[in-house]
Amino acid sequence: MPIIDCKVLVIGAGPGGYVAAIRAGQLGLDTVIVEACAHGGTCLNVGCIPSKAIIHVADEFEKATHFASDSPIGVKVSKPEIDLKKSVVWKDAIVKRLTGGVSGLLKKSKVRTIAGWATFVDGRTVEVKTDDGVQTIRAENIIIATGSAPVELPFLPFGGNVISSTEALDLKAPPKALAIVGAGYIGLELGIAFAKLGSKVTVVEALDRILPLYDKALTRPVAKKMKALGIDVVLGAKAKGAGKAGLQIETADGKAASVKADKILVTVGRAPLTEGWGRDNLVLDMDGRFIKIDEQCRTSMSGIYAIGDVTGEPMLAHRAMAQGEMVAEIIAGENRVWDKVAIAAVCFTDPEIVSAGLLPDEASAAGYEIITQSFPFAANGRAMTMESEDGFVRIVARKDNHLVLGIQAVGGGVSELAAAFGLALEMGAALEDIAGTIHAHPTQGEAFQEAALRTLGQALHI
């Protein structure tokens, strides 16, 4: 096949890669993107989007179950049933629509797409194994966007009843008993969903708490709900392997125990995909297990950029997208540098958690003298009308000039508040800016304004 020469070559069409390619195409750069699987990467195919679909199914099913018992709001239904096979078909249709949409957007931006697995030959040349043979591509600039994959435990290799999040999203039926190793956000999102769908869920976590990235005030409402859903949480325990009856563990006091399970879901994090694409043929400096990048996402080799999960934490789609956009603009000659104030993180547990900027502890550790207050949804009219009174909005600000450093919330549907939180931080809002903005009534967002007012010592509704 004839060699392809291009200005920009993107390896991996996940959120980072495809955004980089679209922007590069929009900027008139001759761009090629290589992807071995469907466009959209982990996010669209086996991550963010399908998990949210299954979580939605679980939420609707729980609602129906709630109505079938004695709901105080006066809605009554007969006992609901779940046809997970049908749910998965519906979920797959959404995924297909979105990945097809990405392909369309790439085409619209005049990006050439190559299907196949890319391997570096040298810092300017990549070979792609396609169905039609090996395609050589030479590029002035290459963007590595290879992403990440679920971490496998050596004593619990994936296969059979031991599954990763990918397989969990394609189950034919809810497991009767599901053991989950790792109480991070992926494990808890899926654990809560399957508990709602009727599985007996047990979560095993090596640390002494769930969701260790958040403080206890934020995770408490989640722990409370998990308890209400009958999820067992075994903290300080180590998974040891799969047994006949389920998961073998060692509890905090060193005793061996067994967790009954017909499926074992391992969610102990994700690892950057730094092997298998010819990194040996390059001389890339590493930063731990990640590819080392500077504030413009440049690697140690000129003309080679890296974005997304392969470059470090937080491994979030929206971080990768912002990096991709920036790198395309840098290649087009614009003066860009990573200058983001906040990358909001959302945990689609029940209730949801959203965090943007610094947590109180992090702000103090960073040397700021802070003021912080929260406003509970129990005092928010809209939350009451949605039977969703658990949780709060909390603001962390500098004491001296009231610059907002971090905003967090836990509660039903608070993921949508991420937009307001991110905007406030990115615009450099002071407490007075949020307190002085009219927030529509009755909405959960009023809790945001009230949290700012309360931090200023001027709350009106508490």
């Binding site: 000659g333 003066n335 540098v337 009231h402 610059l403 615009m427 450099g428 002071a430 800016d433 200023l456």
Partner: protein, 434 residues
């Protein structure tokens, strides 16, 4: 406490309006009696307006570049005592708007209240903030603090190559606004290249064409759009004149200005136009008349800090060489320091332009409309010249002269320049009468 209104005084005979070129006293400033409040410019001269009273500036009539009518309120001061405005009296804010002047007044500027709001304010103002205490702000950023700015401001700064750490933020918590960035750019903040590399600059600085610059632009437009220029260049052997000049300078009386080339050229022009009066003239093309002047009033183009000015040596025909030298020295000093009067800046009938050592070998001078000729002096250099037997070093210089071809034919232009050449190469002829 009262208010005192100062109106734009009569700044020159026949002057109906003046352009505000500078405010020396900002709103809120306390001024003493006789302290200069503002500078206005008429057709030619800049006039400073002093304060007749002591007080605090509370209102300014216009912004720099606006045209004000003579007699219209210029500034309002808050003064001890009653002032010259009765309480509650409505002051006619802008007679300029009503005055029958030909330039367009800007009525929207005149009645504007004292404190101008920055352009960038708007809907973002927090309506509920009245109930919230003011945000502490304004203090310089502590070391290591990141600059706070919205993504839009950050992008603008990046595009302009500006490191926001160098920009002072005036917003809450030291937030940098678009206006702060503008102020930094206007103050001459330099773009910083990232790690020493080359960067693209996409900033655009808008420089208002006000004052002298605007006058120059207007005059140049008229000259180049109405006059059909013909430029004629001739080389002059200056060796003899230079020797004479050196001799005269070495033996000059104390207190006399040192002779430059200009006085010789001025005298040579007087001599040459005596034979060709059509060169020393003003062409009124609307009336269809060429006014040939008996008096030779030579404009001498001078570079000043504000731009090009042309002070005029009047009646050069009645000035001797030394007098010409003294007059040129006096006028160029007056122009440079902005002290030249209206009279000293008008009335020329022919103009000399010289850039001295910067003069280059040829120029295409633009005629000082409505004159019909301009004589341009190029740089002098020693060239090897063949005298028929050998090469000799000669001090040579080009004269680049432009003429209004509508009234002066090429032949006449050539005759004029050849006459100048003859006079300058044989300088004794300049001083022989008849």
């Amino acid at each position: 406490m009262g208010e005192h209104i100062i109106k734009l005084p009569d700044v020159g005979e026949g002057v109906a309006e003046a352009e505000l070129v500078e405010w020396m006293a900002a709103i809120g400033a306390n001024v003493r009696e006789d302290e200069v409040l503002a500078a206005v410019m008429t057709d030619k001269a800049t006039v400073e307006i002093p304060s007749p009273v002591e007080g605090k500036v509370i209102w300014q009539a216009a912004k720099v570049g606006d045209i004000l009518a003579v007699g219209s309120p210029l500034i309002r001061l808050e003064v001890d005592g009653p002032g010259n405005v009765k309480p509650g009296e409505v002051v006619e804010a802008a007679p300029a708007a009503a005055a029958p002047v030909k330039t367009k007044p800007k009525p929207k500027d005149a009645p504007k209240p004292a404190a101008k709001k920055p352009k960038t304010n708007g809907a973002a103002a927090a309506p509920a903030s009245a109930s919230v205490s003011a945000t502490p702000s304004g203090a310089p950023r502590a070391e290591g603090d990141k600059p706070v700015a919205s993504p839009a401001v950050r992008k603008r700064a990046a595009d302009a190559g500006i490191d926001l750490r160098r920009v002072h933020g005036t917003g809450p918590a030291g937030r940098i606004s678009n206006a702060d960035l503008d102020a930094y750019i206007e103050s001459g903040g330099e773009p910083q290249a990232r790690s020493g590399g080359l960067i693209r600059k996409t900033s655009i600085t808008d420089v208002p064409m006000v004052g002298l610059r605007r006058k120059i632009a207007e005059k140049m437009t008229i000259a180049k759009s109405r006059i059909a220029h013909i430029t004629y260049v001739e080389e002059i052997d200056m060796t003899a004149l230079e020797a004479l000049r050196k001799q005269l300078n070495e033996t000059r009386k104390e207190g006399r200005a040192k002779l430059t080339l200009l006085p010789f050229l001025m005298r040579a022009i007087v001599k040459a136009v005596a034979d060709q009066p059509q060169i020393n003239a003003i062409y009124d093309d609307e009336a269809g008349v060429v006014h040939q002047h008996g008096g030779v009033h030579i404009g001498v183009a001078a570079q000043t800090p504000g731009g090009l000015m042309v002070p005029v040596a009047h009646h050069v025909e009645a000035r001797d060489l030394w007098d010409c030298a003294a007059e040129v020295a006096r006028l160029s000093e007056a122009a440079r320091t902005g002290k030249a009067t209206r009279e000293e800046l008008s009335g020329s009938t022919i103009t000399i332009t010289s850039l001295g050592a910067m003069g280059g070998i040829v120029t295409t001078p633009v005629i000082n409309h409505p004159e019909v000729a301009i004589v341009g002096v190029n740089k002098m250099q020693v060239l090897a010249k063949w005298d028929g037997q050998e090469f000799r070093p000669r001090k040579c210089m080009n004269l680049s002269s432009s003429f209004d071809h509508r009234v002066i034919d090429g032949w006449d232009a050539a005759v004029f320049v050849q006459r100048l050449k003859e006079l300058l190469e044989n300088p004794a002829m300049i001083f022989i009468e008849g």
